[in-house]
């Protein structure tokens, strides 16, 4: 059976509800709306490449303060010992809690880097028309979409710790500037994944598919 690209037939799926609509010529001042959910219709996500680059670069720049500044500080009898993401992982490993150390390492260090590298790969594939497997690029995109949320682990943990250790002058835990930067990295990468349009990868391929 032979299949075609929807766009060649002047059709597209609504971004919001996946309803198939026919693209119509409209004046530049008004936009076409989906007949089912009333969202603005775009053949492809608008300015997908430049917006994704903007979020990716934001995430990339913020990755440095996120990893270099302390994410939390344990204050004990007036003395503070600040922890960065990596030193927190090392502490867990030193105490023999390897599975948890690995879990925190994957969620806080590995996932953000994999997301950013993956998105840059996809952007380069689309912009430079690299002949990589479109199917594998789509799988990469789906993986990036799926893993992003798990980076919030460290932030939730800090929000729990700050209330558990709250002994006034004796001991307390405060969230650091690194945590704020890290929170921004997570949000920037989630937005980057949302603004990227995987259909752009397939637009480089043959418009007809035989199955």
């Amino acid at each position: 059976m032979q299949f075609q690209r929807a766009l060649t037939q002047g059709l597209t799926a609504c971004d919001e509800c996946h309803h198939v609509v026919r693209l119509t010529e409209v004046s530049p001042t008004q936009s076409q709306r989906c007949s089912r959910c009333f969202s603005v219709i775009h053949a492809r996500k608008p300015k997908s490449i430049s917006r994704t680059w903007a979020w990716v670069l934001t995430g990339l720049i913020l990755l440095f303060p996120a990893n270099m500044l302390p994410v939390m500080t344990v204050v004990y009898l007036g003395n503070g010992s600040p922890d960065t993401i990596m030193s927190g992982v090392i502490h867990l490993a030193e105490e023999g809690m390897y599975p948890i150390a690995l879990l925190v390492f994957i969620a806080s260090v590995f996932v953000p880097i994999v997301k950013l590298v993956g998105l840059i790969t996809l952007l380069v594939v689309v912009q430079c028309k690299l002949p990589l497997s479109a199917k594998q690029c789509t799988y990469l995109y789906r993986m990036i979409e799926f893993i992003g949320r798990w980076s919030m682990l460290d932030l939730f943990m800090i929000s729990i710790l700050v209330t558990l250790v709250d002994l006034g002058a004796v001991a307390s835990i405060t969230a650091g500037a690194g945590a704020t930067a890290f929170a921004s990295v997570v949000v920037a990468t989630i937005f980057a994944a949302n603004t990227f349009d995987p259909r752009l990868i397939w637009d480089l391929r043959a418009p007809v598919y035989d199955h």
Binding site: Q4, W150, F156, M157, V165
Partner: protein, 225 residues
């Protein structure tokens, strides 16, 4: 066999015959989709449609059940830690408040959004959508709710919060007496029911039922005039 391609004269029932893959833009005849329980795009393997049994009923039941556990899970202590006779208690809400008071307002906002506000919004939307559909009522809120459910679906992160609790337990167990609070049970129940509600929700069917109700409402409005 070659499929006839859609032409403009068939546009009035376009959506009943054609689907476009949201990941690779392949145009697919829809009879391939409704026959199977799970329909995948033949080219990129995207899930186009997954039929769920008794979806509206189950989603309504699970989301209401989850909502019953929402307030205790958020306000009662999940963990408490005893150090030198002093007790620190964590509830989902006071974690956010503490961060806010420490001046990490952006982080407080994000934690509040992903662990407190978004799960409530998600459950409210699911209950609202399925409640409307089950009671056969159409309002202009129904399509808006389905749209917003799709937009916000990735931001409720209760399962990640559970992992955060587990890491916190491991980290703090050596510091003092760690007590697991009643709200931990409420939280796990909330999480399980929320995941069940999301799993049983069939957005495709929700849209279909919404359009049937809208057409009925329009016909009624015309008849009344």
């Amino acid at each position: 066999m070659s499929e006839p391609l859609p032409n403009q004269s068939l546009d009035h029932d376009l959506e009943e015959h054609w689907a476009a893959c949201h990941d690779c833009d392949l145009l697919l005849p829809i009879h391939d989709i409704t026959e199977n329980r799970v329909a995948r795009c033949p080219r990129c393997n995207a899930v186009l449609y997954r039929h769920k049994k008794d979806s509206m009923n189950r989603t309504l039941a699970f989301s209401i059940a989850a909502l019953l556990f929402y307030i205790p899970a958020n306000t009662l202590p999940i963990l408490s830690l005893d150090i030198l006779g002093n007790t620190g208690r964590n509830t989902m809400l006071n974690g956010v408040l503490q961060l806010w008071q420490q001046g990490s307002w952006w982080m407080a906002f994000l934690v509040a959004a992903c662990s407190v506000a978004m799960p409530l919004l998600e459950l409210g939307l699911l209950a609202g959508i399925t409640g409307h559909i089950q009671s056969q009522r159409y309002s202009h809120w129904l399509p808006k709710m389905i749209k917003w459910q799709h937009r916000t679906s990735g931001w409720a992160m209760l399962e990640v919060y559970l992992l955060g609790i587990i890491v916190a337990i491991v980290k703090m167990s050596e510091l003092g007496d760690l007590v697991l609070g009643q709200a931990l049970v409420c939280f796990v129940v909330l999480l399980v029911f929320t995941l069940c509600a999301l799993q049983s929700f069939d957005r495709h069917e929700a849209w279909h039922r919404c359009m049937v109700l809208r057409q009925r409402a329009i016909a009624k409005a015309i008849a009344c005039q």
